[in-house]
Symmetry: C3
Subunit: 212 residues, 3 copies
């Protein structure tokens, strides 16, 4: 009984994590407080907005203004707290990881609820969870977290795929499936941040005079 | 009687200003005339397109082709006129400022007309007025006007907030509220361009070995 | 009889070409296999997704999952084949050119079918065919194919305009018009890649102390 009501807030929590990551990225660029709020909010609502547009649903933060307030509050809070924090770059990676783990499952679940085929739901989970961070890094002109060697897309894919599999195959409730899938995604991404877990990256074989 | 009919064209005028700013940015990259028209049109219609998609309204330039013609004509005109102008960088900032001041109020007003809550309308005004410039600078790979020290988001926020406040509190017509709000936004941004008005930017306190 | 059924697959083929171009761009950044699939799929479906959102149609890859499978399969295949290929940069330009030539006509045709005015349909053809490549280059932080001196937007414009003209003026079937327009676009872009065809690029006259 407790789990579903906790999960009802997970969307809000995920938006808040991403908003904090956007505000921390704004700190790197030495923006003013409204720059923090702008990029924090954009990062917090970006992925879910894409998801809702693609699924042709009403955009979530237009009907429910709590999302905007949470994103704006957390971005402004980051403005005040950031100077007191050390290791802001690593903190950015960790809040981004938490947002990613929640959103990849939530995006996938929302797509399934609206009748999308499994493969579409998994793609929606991956895209909606990574889009906020892509926007943040691209618009702020910083190296994207997705370009690193460490696992990123894979974690989102695993979260979405685990949820889809558990829902269709296992005799467990949606809430339990959700928590397990979020944990799977977070574990992978945490290993990537803390221990540099990665998949083999592309290497070319032989010589290629026209490449580079 | 005159004011409302002038304001009926303000959307078109704002799109034209942004189109000119996009074409001036294309000039920096030495594109051909169709590059001017492409990026000019994209900048001119980008913000309003985002607004309409988010509000689930028909995209404005699909039902009313005047927007495309104005954007394409002004971009092409910029191609011919730009070599005769001096100080194109500053001109870009000024036409961008005029587009910003008009669009932040118009985006906010359109959101309010469609029943959005106040906070959503203000966010919509800020996002729709800054999105065209963000697209222009990001896609052309130039330093974003939003990354400067000077006030930018703040001006859009003030324009949208002033309009929302006047509409709900003051006993004046929507047209007068619109003009006052546009002037407020423009004054702030003009001060930012001409006199480098800015808010305090983020500075870190203490040392942070993992930052940078 | 044969032509329409071949053309029924052209959308799928175009998505596949763009997916391959996205995966080849991921190779430049040495991403892992899921990075290839992510950026390949994004590039493959990006332009058509924008088109469908703007026209307020259901997003094509949500109702028909073949698009996702084709994009993911071609991206994964590129991961295995790329090390064996020479001249990957040029190959990227060629598959991008094929995607562009097909999508500029298909995007324009879909807009016309849904009742858009001619000028909107042409703009839709240009935007939907170039958006995938813009996303690919912007998100991966590589120099955009649109920033080169060679003809790019022009080829898309010619493809869309030729199709629109033939459909309204010439006594030929839509399929024949489509093939002719695709050939026109491809010929122009092929000349740009192979023989550096270009329009005059912008040059400033006189001196401009505030420029640069």
């Amino acid at each position: 009984m407790v789990l579903p009501s906790v999960l009802a807030y997970s969307d809000l929590v995920a938006a808040g994590f991403f908003a904090a990551s956007g505000a921390l990225a704004a700190a790197e660029k030495r923006l003013d407080i409204l720059g923090f709020v702008f990029f924090g909010t954009l990062t917090g609502i970006g992925g879910g907005t894409l998801r809702d547009l693609l699924l042709d649903l009403p955009v979530f933060w237009i009907s429910d203004t709590r999302y905007l307030w949470v994103c704006m509050a957390l971005s402004a809070l980051t403005w005040y707290l950031a100077p007191m924090l050390s290791a802001r770059r690593r903190l950015l990676l960790w809040v981004d990881a938490m947002g990613l783990s929640l959103f990849c499952v939530l995006g996938c679940a929302k797509a399934l609820q609206n009748g999308a085929p499994e493969v579409v739901a998994v793609v929606m989970g991956v895209m909606s969870s990574s889009f906020g961070g892509l926007l943040r890094d691209t618009l702020l002109g910083r190296p994207s977290v997705m370009m690193g060697r460490e696992i990123y897309v894979t974690a989102a894919l695993v979260g979405a795929a685990v949820y889809t599999l558990l829902i269709s195959l296992a005799p467990i409730s949606a809430s339990v499936a959700m928590v397990l899938a979020m944990l799977a995604a977070f574990t992978l991404r945490a290993g990537a941040i803390a221990r540099h877990w990665c998949l083999p990256s592309y290497r070319r074989l032989g010589t290629d005079p026209l490449d580079e």
